[in-house]
Symmetry: C2
Subunit: 550 residues, 2 copies
């Protein structure tokens, strides 16, 4: 028996309608590509989004058509978020930092009908001009005064001219809340980028969940500045959650250096911001150099990679709370947030800091499993570890136009995040390794990250990696691969002595291999895959290198 409640779908257009009706004079401030700050209200934003929707309809787009964007965090990008998705089209945000080939692949695989771009990215678009010829339109997100002359893009349209003549009335259509609203590609270390096709439902639920006090905690009293780009998993959902709550939204544009961010935060009274550690390092360093403080900022949300404890302490010393959050493109993204509980207030500072540096505890709606060998659930003791599986209304169940996906298929009903984690009794999850990097020795798992951290502390070692070597008896055994500091030496005996007492005996690597350099991926991460290949070659063809300790 069904309830007798109204069948009102969760649509992104309802966020826009809410903001316009009840927070009409709420501000949206954007640092523009053309220079200077642009400032308007949610009412004006809604009005221009409707003009855009009329323009898109005139271009002949049909429900489900993809509209690509190559753009910074700014008001026109925001209008695209709502104008495109509210119309029943798909806003396909493209990461301009990817390799050209990947961008070309993504536009083709996504099947974009129209492409909008910020002037910054004109060179990319010009390079792709040949590929874009079949599109209904390519639009520069600027006004006529700033329109570039581009021989490569003869039919290039101007955003302001495109919407200028359109009526500002538009009835946002109502449709199934599972209708696709956004598309974002994730580029792993291997294989082609894979697309996650968000729905109106998933985005609305995710925005509600992050707005909750123990999510990111967002209200009409906040001024929210997402530093995380709108081309990266919907800027963690903040462009949806801010108008949903009536918060002021501050969009930083292209300049994410410490000086620019500090000026923007202070000038616009930003109370909450969100981004990756690298950005905060730049900001904190700049502030220290220039002896600046925050006068309004109260909370910084950090995600994307693990937060160094020292960064948390540096923010604390400036009176700012750190809320670590964890997520992936496949999880919309936020699944965990490290909001402390009352009992933690009584903890010693060091223990509290350790908790704040964990990835966090589950938002309501997100269910996590720590799956050990054979998929059995591991104890939530903060020590036992296993693969982190997740399910929930804002988790992808498949990739866009991709037939198979091991991450979705291995554990039916769950998405395998590819991380190895522990969970404590309070639900706090900590990533200890990537699944593909963990060493599976005799049915037990050894965290490569733990062993690398120990190695890294040795004075002779400049860079260290732990990789698994096949072993007939144990299945796999850890091997340490290092680059030494100039003039240093490091033997197998040194290794054993160094690990002694720092980890269980059976976790100590079997061997150490010294290389001149370690291979890295395009994004600067260690490529363990390549290291394993190097190792395999060494094992297969050659006697132990004389440099390897004995």
């Amino acid at each position: 028996m069904l309830g007798t409640m109204m069948d009102v779908p969760l649509l992104l257009s309802s966020i826009l309608r809410h903001a316009e009706a009840y927070h009409g004079d709420g501000e949206v401030v954007s640092a523009t590509v053309e220079g200077g700050l642009h400032r308007y209200t949610y009412a004006e934003m809604a009005q221009r989004s409707r003009k855009l929707a009329n323009a898109l309809a005139r271009l002949g787009l049909k429900t489900g058509d993809r509209v690509g964007t190559l753009a910074w965090n700014g008001y026109r990008h925001l209008e695209l978020y709502y104008g495109v998705s509210g119309s029943g089209f798909v806003c396909h945000t493209i990461n301009p930092r990817l390799f050209r080939e990947q961008i070309a692949y993504i536009i083709a695989h996504g099947g974009d009908s129209v492409l909008f771009f910020d002037l910054t990215f004109l060179p990319i678009v010009e390079e792709l001009a040949e590929q874009l010829k079949g599109l209904k339109a390519v639009v520069a997100m600027t006004d006529e005064a700033h329109m570039p002359k581009s021989a490569a893009l003869p039919g290039l349209l101007c955003y302001e001219s495109l919407i200028a003549g359109e009526p500002d009335s538009f009835d946002w259509p109502s449709f199934d809340e599972n209708t696709a609203s956004g598309l974002c590609y994730t580029s792993g270390t291997t294989g082609d980028p894979k697309g996650v096709l968000y729905s109106n439902r998933s985005c609305v639920l995710h925005a509600m969940a992050i707005a909750m006090p123990d999510g990111l905690g967002l209200s009409a009293n906040d001024a929210i500045c997402p530093i995380v780009p709108m081309f990266h998993v919907n800027a963690w959902g903040l462009p949806f959650a801010a108008p949903m709550t009536g918060a002021k939204l501050v969009l930083p544009g292209a300049h994410l250096d410490g000086a620019s961010l500090h000026a923007l935060f202070e000038g616009e009274g930003v109370s909450i911001t969100a981004g990756v550690p690298t950005v905060w390092l730049g900001l904190l360093d700049w502030m220290d150099t220039h002896a600046r403080e925050f006068s309004i900022l109260k909370r910084v949300v950090i995600g994307g990679s693990a937060v160094p404890p020292i960064m948390v302490s540096r923010f604390h010393s400036k009176g700012v709370e750190v809320r670590q959050a964890w997520g992936m493109t496949e999880t919309s993204p936020v699944g965990l947030a490290a909001a402390l509980k009352p009992k933690h207030q009584a903890f010693p500072a060091e223990q509290r800091l350790a908790l704040e540096c964990k990835q966090g505890r589950p938002l309501f709606g997100m269910e996590f499993r720590v799956a050990g060998a054979e998929g059995r659930e591991m104890p939530h003791d903060g020590k036992s570890f296993g693969s982190m599986l997740v399910r929930g209304p804002w988790v992808a169940q498949a990739y866009f136009n991709t037939a198979t996906s091991p991450a979705h298929e291995e554990h039916p009903g769950w998405f395998d995040t590819g991380d190895v984690v522990t969970m404590d009794a309070e639900g706090f999850i900590q990533i200890v390794d990537r699944t593909k990097d963990v060493v599976k020795s005799g049915g037990e798992w050894i965290s490569s990250i733990d062993l690398e951290n120990i190695a890294q502390a040795h004075p002779a070692i400049q860079e260290a990696a732990i990789v698994a070597r096949p072993d007939t008896r144990w299945g796999e055994r850890p091997v340490l691969v290092v680059v030494l500091k100039p003039g240093a030496s490091f033997t197998r005996q040194d290794m054993r002595a160094h690990y002694e007492g720092k980890t269980s005996k059976w976790c100590v690597p079997d061997d150490v291999i010294v290389l001149d350099e370690l291979p890295h991926t395009a994004t600067g991460k260690l490529s363990k895959k390549t290291i394993r290949e190097i190792l395999q070659e060494q094992m297969a063809g050659r006697a132990p290198d004389p440099e390897i300790g004995s």
Copy 2:
């Protein structure tokens, strides 16, 4: 095109699973009917809910079957909320304060299969014994030691014995999130009570919305004490929102007097509470008499009827924030909450207080229309008024097993709340009258409440009511009906002089009628319907009463 996100339904059982997995040692403290405080954790609550689910299955209940409850706010009632709804049955909370005939009607109309009741309500259940003979079970919510001997209820079961032998494992079924989860009857001033059949989806979304900072603002750092009864619109959703956020839940049982509440709040560290003005009046008066303060309480949510400004000030003086909220049984209930915006902080205290005394601004998800004559939307200027219509995922679209409902039919897609309201540019809504009491004069609406408030301020008047009198020229005209203070007199001239300058000329009542007493409904409200009938009799049959001024 649909998104590729997981199809994970929003179920009440997922709240329970979330609380158990990530807030397992979160506390639930209940003041019991048997005496003393009962204390356990969400993990134990979840375990006992599963035992209950097994017991319900053993009783032979089928999906959609209704399980009645006559109970206070306590842990067994909480287990019923989850055990019943989580199983796909319907938790039918019955208001024990209604007339016996209404309770009998509600149990019959709801079609309850099982009835659970707190010992307090044994007399009601015994009186209804004949009617309950066909039920699968009648269960006293207590243990064997406290089981009553009841000749009228020979097969009476004991809650603790019912669940004692059951296994504590139970896989909560997954089903359509629109599946009915709860049933609550609203008793208007006229006609039979009408049932609202909530769904898992509506309850989960409502809980997420009230947890948001500008809803009621709930987090794991709170201890939440709903004074509003669990038999009244799910205690405003707090039994769902508290475990969803991991907050401690404090359930006050039967004793809602000032002394009991103050002791409970202080003893259990309650940070947020919620209830109707009457309860707070009792608490504040008791505290003043006994010179007590709050040491932890930070926010009180007030709803059910308009909050007197003096009550807000009294809470402020004790360091407690007042969050007025508006809702109805038909709206789950919360639709509005009066959370101020940043700009309001700069307002003079009096103006801020006036805002806090409005019913509030819409939660995200709830859409409001102020519909004037012919249903057209009125300006959001804080002055123009019209009927308050609402729609959203937690609004009823019909009543349970009721063929027609004018409130749902007059404006298709909307529910007519029966209130006449203004809305300002910030979305703050204020109730100015009930639709049926407003006087429609010459196409304009006159608020009966405004005119009554003016009359009430006259020293001769003890009680005042404004009712509409049919008028051939204007449609309707207001007439003042009063009870005078002993020995006082009040003529038509007095009336005109008194209203002069206090309202527009055309709003001044045409006439005043003095009665010995005014008729009231069973719940103590003025019965304007009866007053109108009295007026009609007077108009029809008799010459003007000599007491009526001339």
